[in-house]
Amino acid sequence: MIDQINPVINMIVFALFVAFTLFIVFRVSRQKASAAEFYAGNRSFTGPQNGIAIAGDYLSAASFLGICGAIAVAGYDGFLYSIGFLVAWLVALLLVAELLRNTGKFTMADVLSFRLNQRPVRMAASLTTLAVCFFYLIAQMSGAGGLVALLLGLEGGVATAATVAVVGVLMIVYVIVGGMKGTTWVQIIKAVLLVIGVGILALIVLGKYGFDFSAILDDAVALSPHGEAVLSPGLKYPNPIDFLSLGLALVLGTAGLPHVLMRFYTVPTGKEARRSVVWAIWIIGSFYVLTLVLGYGAAALVGPEVLQDPTTPGGENAAAPLLALVIGGPVLMAIVSAIAFATILAVVAGLAITAATSFAHDIYASVIKNGTVQPDEEVKVARATVVVIGVLAIIGGIVALGQNVAFLVALAFAVAASANLPTILYSLFWRRFNTGGALFSMLGGLASCLILIVLSPAVSGHEKSMFPTLDFDLFPLSNPGIVSIPIGFALGIIGTLLTAPEPDHEEKAAEMEVRAFTGAGAEAASDH
């Protein structure tokens, strides 16, 4: 089956996608972008456009390739990811999106520093933002970059490293040239391609079985070495506490992911932020239902044995492209592979602009320069930061090649849920909350996640660990969420009660509350 892969067709479709997106990015770009333009696309996107872009930003290679592969091999446990990733959007819709849009400007730290002591809070928020972006970026670059190299028929370490570098360079170009506007269009194009591609694949698979989903499941059971067990939970996570920990991190992490939060600033009003999330939920929900068909379809038509064979390029992650190869031949596979490539590019671009904005806006302009920079200069710094982040991501991605880095995505969600979400919710809903609480919660949440992950089986003590020969595996769960999330929330309360409120606390808290709930004084869309 594998020798039917046609790298030339794959390469042509990839090149077409890159050429098309570059054309769009150069068209929407402006040399002298203002801060509002570079960071937030002038807040001029409509709710539906932003909703599609959110789906493009959120549905990463881990969602598309990872979940299809996980369902194909481990069955039901893969589906649990889909559900967590989707339900999480209700937290964003009900508690975060509109209030954040009304109170902030460009970054998560804007919301927090509205009424807290800005320098320390911006430092801490920027630290957690950069940590989440960096873990996520490395996971995308190494995991997916390697897969793309193999789909292109490039073998060997140098070729794989070169692919990671190309992904990194394209990311830098998209973001530097197009800013948030260009990044958004890349995400919109990718989301449309992804949903159409996944929809067509699912239709073909269902059509093959006369639209009888149950028959697909029967074939999946027949081909799996685990038999019936692929239809119920427990194959991948036999420990139920592991399940719960992962489930918590997924459902509470999304609304604290900085690259997701930043997208809410690209629309003109809180109401449009709400519409964006409604659109995003419909697209993301439909997508995850389709991944169920693709995952079990790949289990039935490709089979877990092929996917787990060490000679299969990409292994488990190749489930969706190989399914396309089986049902539609090399051309359909090229299209699906190109969509996977588009997915990676759109997500890494979103992460890069978020990290750059956080550094330039929060650390450089507010902390280092104490708020006295010219806006032009801030954008220059942001562009330079994109290059630095791109280079670091390329190096990190290459170093992590071949390592088992899947835990990095879980870690990113755990940090978002433990370090970011508590502070966001407290500052929006709890009047008494203060700087001490924010610092305790963000730094404590971040530290507990990092410490627990280092002590977890993902890093040492097991055959599949990052360092299989070392053994300091003291924490038994692969995701720290169940411990670190309560720590993050509790530290916010403890820190607040232990420290005094800011002198202008009452007025600032009132101003923030009125603005959050009514939109009075919120950043408006700017003209061209």
Partner: protein, 118 residues
């Protein structure tokens, strides 16, 4: 640090007004139960998946089992809550919030230079 008539002072007045308190209460009385509902329903789903995989394995329609239907149930409730919130917010919340925003913003023009500090 701020004199009366500034954004801060007016915010405190608006925040304490009966009208704003009603807006905030109506928001929280929709959001809090809804959030509790979907989080508990999701936790139930995850806990059952972890501790009662046998329950999820019971077939219902052909090979489609309780587990798959529970998962799809989560998708359906997510869509339903999304639409409920959207229609509530559009019809009930927005007009009220808009009125208070108007009052707040036309009471005095907001001091734009304050934005630069943040």
């Amino acid at each position: 640090m701020t004199d009366p008539g500034t954004v801060g002072a007016r915010s405190v007045a608006v925040q304490r007004s009966e009208d704003f308190q009603r807006l905030r209460r109506s928001f929280l009385s929709f959001i809090v139960p809804m959030t509790a509902l979907f989080l508990l329903w999701y936790l139930l789903y995850v806990i059952l998946a972890g501790f009662a995989p046998g329950l999820y394995a019971i077939p219902v329609l052909g090979s489609i089992n309780v587990g798959l239907l529970m998962g799809l149930g989560q998708v359906v409730t997510t869509f339903v809550i999304t639409m409920l919130y959207r229609s509530w917010a559009d019809k009930r919340y927005d007009p009220h919030a808009e009125a208070i925003r108007h009052e707040m913003e036309t009471g005095e023009i907001l001091d734009e230079t304050q934005e630069g500090r943040r």
